[in-house]
């Protein structure tokens, strides 16, 4: 036969468990998550939401710098990390506040980092590699999945059964680095979970202009491992997909890609105004599918949560956020007078050339103080 069809595995499934009103569609698919853990997840989702809102206010008041709001993507992040163990690694892009909160990063740490002080990364909840095992944010788009592959290769080499999750956006799948990471993971069968947060937009460019593929998940098929789509606003579906992927990775069956179909309800970053390039109707439509009320409806239906519980949690959270802001602002005030810290953490040992530059700035600062006096 001179011409025949090559039979390749070619299938992407789409998983959803909760409908738009938070009703379980198929009870067979409902994951068995302990009640306490479900409530913890709800609390973190609410915290991520309120903290996001508060950070936006702080940014508008000039109290912190630019950041990328997470609004709308909380389930797509929490469902993934909820399926991880503490010893697993997370390699984020720049929008994973919800996932990072779950994995132990403190509110204060976020505030310091987005206030412009990397000292925020020195706080408990950011220890590497002994502690929480979250890498810092990666701002150049699509550069971090390769790190996840390297981390997971090292884990495999050492014979450990930890897994590595990396988050990236729909836009990131257009970068070469992403494809190189996927290919490595396939070839070396690394315990990597590639999580695409398909939030439909990359700044002003819609998903349809990013790739002509019908799904992003199908990219994985070309690299020889499974790719699947989930309703990214359905925390249960995301959790199930992540648990299966983690199980595969731990048992040596290699990588998985999960495309969380979700939506960026807020601006790209605080420097952006999305109303310039997208229709309010589209946003409205996604608002109806947003993750928080769906998860709350599910929990209420299972009698795990009541309106008064929510109110109580809201109040607690507001207090927690305010405390963190107070602490962070106090710390920032101190850090603002530690200009020489910009020379910290450049090298294991400060080279003489850098020490000279630091001393020069120190003299300059001393001179200024002299002038002021």
């Amino acid at each position: 036969m001179p011409r025949e069809v090559v039979d390749i595995p070619c299938q992407v499934d789409y998983l959803s468990i909760l409908d738009e009103d938070g009703q379980v569609i198929d009870a067979d698919l409902e994951p068995d998550i302990p009640d306490g853990r479900l409530l913890q997840l709800h609390r973190t989702m609410l915290l991520a939401r309120r903290f996001d809102e508060r950070m936006l206010q702080l940014q508008r008041q000039g109290r912190i710098g630019t950041f990328a709001p997470v609004r709308g993507q909380e389930a797509a992040q929490l469902g993934i990390v909820a399926a991880l163990r503490d010893s697993d690694w997370m390699v984020p892009s720049f929008r994973e506040q919800a996932a990072s909160l779950w994995r132990g990063q403190s509110l204060e740490s976020f505030l310091l980092v987005y206030g412009g002080f990397y000292q925020g990364n020195e706080l408990p909840g950011n220890e590497l590699p002994e502690g929480t095992r979250n890498l810092p944010v990666a701002v150049p788009v699509g550069t971090q999945p390769l790190h996840a592959v390297g981390l997971s290769y090292a884990i495999k080499y050492r014979g450990q059964d930890d897994v590595v999750v990396t988050f990236f956006g729909d836009g990131a799948t257009s970068e070469g680095d992403f494809h190189e990471a996927m290919n490595f993971a396939g070839v070396f069968q690394t315990p990597t979970i590639f999580v695409c947060q398909n939030n439909q937009w990359a700044i002003s460019v819609p998903r349809s202009r990013q790739t002509n593929s019908e799904t992003l998940a199908q990219k994985a098929l070309a690299y020889g491992f499974p790719g699947r789509q989930v309703d990214g606003n359905d925390i249960l579906a995301v959790y199930v997909a992540a648990e299966e992927a983690a199980e595969r990775a731990r048992s040596g069956d290699g990588p998985t890609m999960i495309e969380c179909v979700t939506y960026r309800l807020s601006m790209h970053t605080t420097a952006d105004d999305p109303s310039r390039y997208r229709e309010e109707e589209e946003v409205e439509e996604w608002r109806r599918r947003e993750p928080l009320p769906r998860f709350q409806a599910y929990l209420k239906q299972r009698d795990l949560l009541s309106d008064s519980d929510i109110e109580e949690t809201e109040e607690e959270i507001q207090g927690e956020i305010q405390d963190a802001i107070d602490r962070a602002e106090e710390r920032m005030e101190k850090l603002a007078n530690e200009e020489l810290s910009m020379f910290d953490h450049m090298y294991a040992e400060m080279p003489p050339y850098l020490r000279e530059q630091r001393d020069e700035l120190a003299r300059e600062l001393a001179g200024q103080e002299g002038n002021d006096a």
Binding site: T66, P140, G142, G176, D177, R209
Partner: protein, 328 residues
């Protein structure tokens, strides 16, 4: 003469060249309307020329720079935009190994009339990966031309020339310059590469400045004038080719020189300027050559910390003052 912004000057250059020559087209991320690019330089061009010629690409610097190289070889004149110079890293093979080498390696058969527009520099609290000044990387690579305009007039004239040149140009803008205004004639003009501009004449000290630091050097010259110190400000405008003659002529006249740029001092482009001055005008220099540049740290995120690493008129004035008074 009418005054327009640096941003408008660049946009006019693009518009005029696209109207003049159908082979000119644009590629980059978020460059089409209504967004009109991160710093709004291309705003309004996609409605006029269509999205075939104002091509908004997937997020793929390597992709659109490489595709630009290919299109250029066929005789098109692509102008691609890398949103931040920091992300030129993603396309470095295409820039340094491909665009820069194709003419040479094809024995002169292939030419690459590609313009890579990008912007760098601190000043907006954009942090370690959005505010670097990386011009020296490109000036180091044989085969590339490098422009770094400081005024709307230079920006327009040099960009029009860049588009017409038959070699790849890295055209480096500065994020704080976009809103600055300056005189730009309505009539058509272009500016040659390799011609420095004496932005201000003076007799006591030469300040060689690029991009944003030209504005700071001019302010420093104002300050020092009140103290009786006369400063000459020279802007090379293009780093390659570099008009060293104009620079050394100025140094021979003033016998003192301060070189300033926003990039970190070590291995910055200033080192090249200083070396060439030392080689060609050594006998004329009366005081140690000075550099006023950023310390060797990434641009800090916190605004006031970033400010400490930036070059302002006081840093330049202070150094010139100490040089002229014999303190250094």
């Amino acid at each position: 003469m009418r005054e327009i912004t640096y941003r408008e000057a660049l946009r006019e250059a693009l518009r005029e060249e696209m109207e003049r020559d159908e082979t000119v087209f644009l590629m980059g991320e978020d460059i089409a309307d209504p967004f009109g690019s991160a710093y709004k330089v291309t705003l309004g061009l996609s409605p006029q020329f269509g999205t075939e010629r104002v091509r908004q690409t997937p997020i793929s610097e390597q992709g659109f720079v490489g595709a630009g190289v290919g299109a250029a070889v066929t005789g098109m004149r692509p102008v691609v935009e890398i949103m931040y110079i920091d992300f030129a890293t993603m396309a470095m093979d295409q820039i340094a190994n491909q665009a820069a080498k194709l003419r040479y390696m094809s024995g002169g058969q292939a030419k690459v009339p590609l313009v890579i527009r990008t912007q760098g520099g601190p000043g907006r609290s954009s942090a370690a990966q959005h505010a670097q000044s990386l011009e020296a990387w490109f000036a180091h690579i044989p085969g590339l031309l490098v422009a770094m305009p400081s005024t709307p007039y230079d920006a327009k004239g040099l960009l029009k020339t860049a588009i017409r040149l038959d070699d790849p140009v890295v055209f480096i803008e500065q994020k704080l310059l976009y809103n600055t205004e300056g005189p730009v004639p309505e009539e058509e003009y272009t500016l040659p590469f390799g011609e420095a501009d004496v932005k201000r004449e003076g007799s006591d000290c030469t300040v060689v400045a690029t991009s944003m630091t030209v504005l700071k050097a001019l302010k420093a010259a104002d300050i020092l004038e009140r103290e009786g110190i006369s400063v000459e400000v020279v802007d090379p405008r293009t780093l390659f080719p570099l008009d060293i003659e104009t620079i050394t002529a100025s140094v021979c006249k003033t016998s003192r020189v301060v070189v300033t740029h926003e990039a970190v001092e070590r291995c910055g482009f200033g080192a090249e300027i200083v070396a060439q001055i030392a080689q060609t005008a050594f006998g004329y220099i009366d005081a140690p050559i000075q550099r006023v540049c950023a310390p060797s740290v990434p641009p800090p995120f916190a605004q006031h910390m970033e400010a400490f690493t930036m070059i302002d008129e006081h840093k330049i004035a202070d150094r010139v003052r100490r040089l002229v008074t014999g303190e250094l």
